[in-house]
Amino acid sequence: MREAAVVSEPNPLQRIPGVAIVLVLLIALFSAIAPGFLSVANLSNVLVQSTILTMLALPMTLIIMTEGLDLSMGAVLTLTSLCVAIVSLATKSMLLGLGAGLLVGAAFGVANGWLVAITGIPPFVATLGTLGMAQGLSLIVSDGQSVVGIPHSVRDIYSATLLGIPVPIVMALVTYAAFHGLLYHTRFGTYIFALGGNREALRYAGLSPNKLLIAVYAIGGAMAGIAGLLMTARMNSGHPTAGLGLEFDAIAAVAVGGTSFERGNGWLLGTLLGVLSVGVLRNGLNLISLPSSVQVASVGVLVIVALFLDGLRSRA
């Protein structure tokens, strides 16, 4: 599978149709069957609700590009969200809460990266183990209860606006710009492509693939920390199961967005469109009063179809 990555340069034009068609079809479908879907209020709602997912899906793209996977992201997000809630409750400071979330998230990211890079444990099992650990820690620090009464400074982040744009959307756009710059305009970004495509080349160039891998997973953990702040702000509380399963939506967005699981090709804009597809799908199903269980099942179907098409493309 490594050779394929070297030979076939990613051709974005070839991929644009896939995810864009999915998104357009979903929008057309729900415009037709879901009353109120096309209203400005609802569309901006879709965007705001997609911000947490954006913060997970972008680093997930980088991780999947290294032929890795991070199943622990949802559980780590839950834990960091609780950390934000507990620390900001104790110190009355939003920044200290964010710091705690970032620290815990990055620590889990480094642990994931260390397990994958140094011990060589396959990513999906290593991160399944840390998923259990983060879930357990969430139960332990919260004693299974919601953390309520957090300061206004945290809650306001979700409802505030900057130049008329909701702050979560501003944060998501800044994150996207940062990831775009990182992946396409820095040397580190080029190394990430090489981590999935040609690890040997990195070694010959005198670089340490292990350190780079740890950095990639650490970015994922840190982003879960920032997303944890948004999650706490959105729910105005910390809850020990709040983010469980969100990693699946992130993986879905990446898969629908055309990033391949086996060839080290990544496409950030595709991931962003993938996030919107998942967001539109969930929002639309919600509008036609289908329960969240059906939404979860349809995201599952979306992933399987996307991966099937990905497999077809890689064979073609």
Binding site: M133, I251, F261, S298
Partner: protein, 325 residues
């Protein structure tokens, strides 16, 4: 993955003897944990507690034994827990509606088997990596189960049916007899049948397996279907033991099942491991969780400990194998 070809060239006999040593170490570990727990807690060695450990271990084992076959082919089935939940809810509904436990049991097994077969189709025909395909299936099943149950709980099943999970025969819980039966069948199937040996061969080197004429896709379908059916069986035992079914009963089952397989010495890279090892793995995990319970550690700690055990088990396994080469 290249070092696996070396193992593939070994005759099947040497698998067994190497596995025998691995199983022996794990038995020692289980005994050691028993000794420690016997010292730390007075109630550990009581008959009631030991039977309880065996019964708990058998539940984990049913799910983990089918999963072992999947892992032997270098695959993974992350949907087993969600499969147990869906099968239990459907089987429970059938029993309530028809009043016939036999029909319910058949439906539960069939539901589990069909889900397993779908996993197999995704892995073979659609060529989706197994951990992603079954992870997608996990969420599809979760969604279906919650939608189907709509927050309801099924409760109260016929007394005869409840005997399966909570009854006793000659002083031993009935699940323990089932455990012995499936341990025997699983071991015989894996070690003494051609299909079993073909499964080892596929895991050790899929290309060589295909070139030597093994119908890889059909064997993989079988393996995933067996894993699903065993999840269906586990769902029946659960239903009968808990005397109720809810949509969320599967959520805490997948990680322990994977832990049992990995503690038992089955390699994630395929081709190495035994069903008996998985039994010891289930026993070790249950002993640890039981010990925490006896020492009044909150159940909140269980996912943390299970997660650490999963990582430690894979890490140790990889270390010992690297040294062996």
């Amino acid at each position: 993955m290249t070092d696996i070809t070396k193992e593939a060239m070994m005759p099947p006999r040497s698998f067994l003897s190497q596995d025998a040593i691995q199983v022996f170490y794990r038995l020692l570990a289980a005994l050691l944990i028993c000794a420690v727990l016997a010292v730390l807690s007075d109630s550990f060695l009581s008959l009631g507690n030991i039977l309880n450990v065996l019964r708990q271990a058998s539940l984990t084992f049913f799910i983990a034994s089918g999963l072992t076959l999947v892992v032997l082919t270098a695959g993974l089935d992350l949907s087993v827990g969600a499969n147990v939940a869906l099968s239990a809810c459907i089987a429970g509904t059938v029993i309530h509606k028809t009043g016939s436990p036999a029909l319910g049991i058949l439906t539960g097994l069939a539901c589990g088997g069909i889900v397993g077969l779908l996993n197999g189709i995704m892995v073979t025909a659609l060529r989706i990596p197994s951990f992603i395909a079954t992870y997608g299936m996990l969420w599809v099943l979760n969604g279906l189960t919650y939608w189907y149950m709509a927050g309801e709980t099924l409760h109260g099943f016929p007394a005869g049916f409840r005997q399966i999970g909570s009854g006793y025969l000659f002083g031993l819980p009935i699940p323990v007899y089932l455990l012995l039966v499936f341990l025997g069948i699983g071991t015989l199937f894996a070690q003494r049948t051609i299909w079993g040996q073909e499964i080892y061969a596929i895991g050790a080197n899929p290309v060589a397996a295909r070139l030597s004429g093994i119908p890889v896709a059909r064997r993989l379908l079988l393996v995933y279907a067996v894993s699903g059916t065993m999840a269906g069986l586990a769902s029946i035992i659960f239903l009968s033991r808990l005397n109720s079914a809810e949509a969320d009963i599967g959520e805490s089952l997948t990680l322990p099942a994977i832990a049992a397989v990995l503690i038992g010495g089955t390699s994630l890279f395929g081709g190495v491991g035994t069903v008996f090892g998985t039994f010891i793995g289930a026993l070790i995990l249950t002993l640890v969780l039981n010990g925490m319970n006896l020492l009044s550690v909150s159940a909140n700690w269980q996912p943390l400990v299970t997660g650490i055990i999963v990582i430690l088990a894979v890490w140790l396994d990889m270390k010992t194998r690297r040294r062996a080469q």
